[in-house]
Amino acid sequence: MNHRFLLKLSGFALMACYAASILAGAGARPNVPPSPAPDTPAVKVGVLHSLTGTMAISEVTVKNATMLAIDQLNASGGALGKQVEPVIEDGASDPAIFSQKAQKLIQQDKVATVFGGWTSASRKAMLPVFERFHSLLWYPVQFEGNECSSDIMYSGAQPNQQIVPALDWAFQKGYKKIFLLGSDYVFPRTANLILKKHIVQSRGTVAGEEYVPLGGTDFSSVISKIKLAGPDIIFNTLNGDSNVSFFKQASAAGMPPSKLPVMSFSIAEQEAKAMGASLVAGSYAAWNYFQTLDTPANKKFVAAYRAKFGKDAALDDPMAHGYIDVMAWAAAVRKAGSFEPDAVRKAAAQLDWEDSCMGKIKFAGNQSLYQTAYVGQLEPNGDFKILWQSKEPLMPDPYDQLAFPGKSCLIK
């Protein structure tokens, strides 16, 4: 390549740039008004979930359920006479990005509220942003509790609405010797801390407690320990693919779920479908929503979702929470007569009982949700057969009194 050729090439490149800028300038046309007509202004809300990365498999479906709720809301006239315009952002399975995007949504897009988050790490990363700007986050996933902020609406289950009821159910069934198995991070550690206190108080025994690094694949020693301990049931807080390794290796070692019961807290309809339901069939799960709930409200929810996202789509607990969060926000906005976060969160706690797809729900003064606990058993087709439900919706309690005595959640 000689210099002259290079010179020509640069010349062409320059001309191309120039032409492009002229075309771009022509396209901009500054005098045309922006597309939404000014007489029907929309209100923006943020939808912030991981659309890429490891968490995408779970969070994309929650985003879908949130979008379904926003569509239905707009079809019935929107909020305070305004159409609701979702601004969708991707948290990319990275807590730091969740925090950046939350700030972008609040400052740049000026959203009225944000629906989003899944992992506790993402929630903890967004918390200071929402507190700094006094905005409002609606968080749809069950979590370990031990947190209470006036700028978050925690609709997912608190420990006393999922793991503790599951333990009560196990005791009723006569499973008193319990083995705790989890991935090594904050949710399993905190959940098991609470479980241990309750097991001891109810005169059961902790047969053993084991943690495997996130993504761990070898369970040979853990399975030996379980065999040695001889528990009645395993309480499983393993995350993601580790579940497949565990169930495969346990079955090969002569411990399929039919012989040694397993109660899982991170396997819902989506995960069961992705893993292959036949592998985990027969195991138990505790949630506040199952797709198989036989109520008119749920049938409507399932039908609406499948009409929009495909007839084979699986629905699960965090998706139901993503959906009801939008509906609760709209109701609170109506009650408050304002989009102002402080007024909305106070109004949300004063809403009446609502017959939702999950059963009767209502936000409590601590900004978490009264909800019913269910225990289901996974069938080979990926559905859960509901075996048990709490007598009434349970009062949410972020601070378990046995594990964190003296702490309580007071929100003004």
Binding site: G53, T54, A56, I57, D184, E210, Y211, V212, P213, G215, G216, T217, D218, S220, S221, V222, S224, K225, K227, L228, G240, D241, V244, S245, K248, Q249, A252, A253, G254, A274, M275, G276, L279
Partner: protein
């Protein structure tokens, strides 16, 4: 299950973990010992083997499908390894840092490629029915079950080790390989085509790693990052075993497998990892060249 059963069970588990480690580390030890190349993308050969067997099992779901899958995994990763050697590794000989960086980049590309093709959730290879079930022990070892899958992995690892040893000790290619290992310049001067030897060594190492990925798929899902969880242990095995020694690698794999399994039963899985690393660091202090020290100009140079 009695005390004896637990100890026997953990020894069995240790040997089974060691078999996978051996298959994963063999290729690493070969390319490190003979070519002085540290291949950071070696873990991805494991992953590739896993996905290839997944695809093979989908095409041939029958009981013999998994045996075909093993062959496909070996052949596929062998060819991929050869391609990698010709396109990248060959051009970077004598520049260990560049090789390190380039192979790390390849590892990232392969991981992301797998994520885009197969998704972030693992895919599953269902073990054929003749591998379902287990041998149940009686008498003092009652309660102990030895799953067929793990027995199969152990047998396969021993067979592969034997075949590779035979290849190196008895074939003309093995002779050339040993010559290059001992003194690259002299072998070259005597007419050995070192480039072809390098190509064969690297491809063979990749192929064996592919086999490891294939059997690993029987006990855990194949994910884009499956190689990452084994590559660290494979490096530990190579370091403890001594560079380029087959016997050393086998012994080291056994040692690491047994150690981690016995540590796991007395402590927790996370703590066992920490203790294993501490032990390896201590070991290196006393035997910096590993279990088996081979005199080789290739390494000393």
């Amino acid at each position: 299950m009695g005390e004896g059963g637990v100890i026997a069970g953990q020894i069995f588990n240790g040997i089974s973990v060691a078999s996978i480690l051996l298959l994963a580390a063999l290729g690493l030890a070969l390319s490190f010992g003979v070519m002085n190349v540290i291949n950071m993308a070696h873990g991805e050969m494991l992953m590739l083997g896993g996905y290839l067997s997944y695809l093979a099992c989908r095409v041939l779901p029958g009981p013999g499908g998994f045996l075909v899958a093993l062959a496909v995994a070996f052949g596929g990763t062998f060819l991929f390894g050869a391609l990698l050697e010709v396109i990248v590794i060959r051009r970077l000989y004598g520049r260990p840092l560049d090789t390190l960086l380039a192979t790390w980049g390849i590892s990232l590309i392969l991981q992301q490629g797998a994520r885009s093709l197969f998704g972030p959730i693992g895919v599953e290879v269902v073990a054929p029915h003749w591998l379902n079930g287990s041998v149940s022990m009686h008498g003092t070892l009652a309660g102990l079950d030895l799953p067929y899958v793990r027995l199969f992995i152990i047998v396969l690892a021993i067979a592969v080790l034997g075949l590779v040893a035979l290849f190196i000790a008895k074939t003309a290619w093995g002779l050339r390989l040993r010559a290059v290992h001992q003194d690259r310049e002299m072998a070259e001067a005597l007419g050995v085509n070192t480039r072809t030897v390098d190509l064969v060594v690297f491809a063979l190492g990749a192929g064996v790693a592919g086999l490891a990925g294939s059997v690993l798929a029987l006990i855990s899902p194949v994910t884009p990052t499956v190689g990452q969880s084994y590559i660290v242990y494979a490096f530990l095995v190579v370091i403890v075993g001594g560079l380029g020694s087959l016997v050393g690698t086998a012994l080291a794999a056994l040692l690491v497998g047994l150690f981690s399994c016995s540590l796991q039963i007395f402590t927790s899985v996370s703590l066992a990892d920490v203790l294993l690393l501490v032990l390896v660091i201590l070991f290196i202090q006393f035997r910096p060249k590993g279990i088996v020290v081979r005199r080789s100009r290739a390494i000393e140079a």
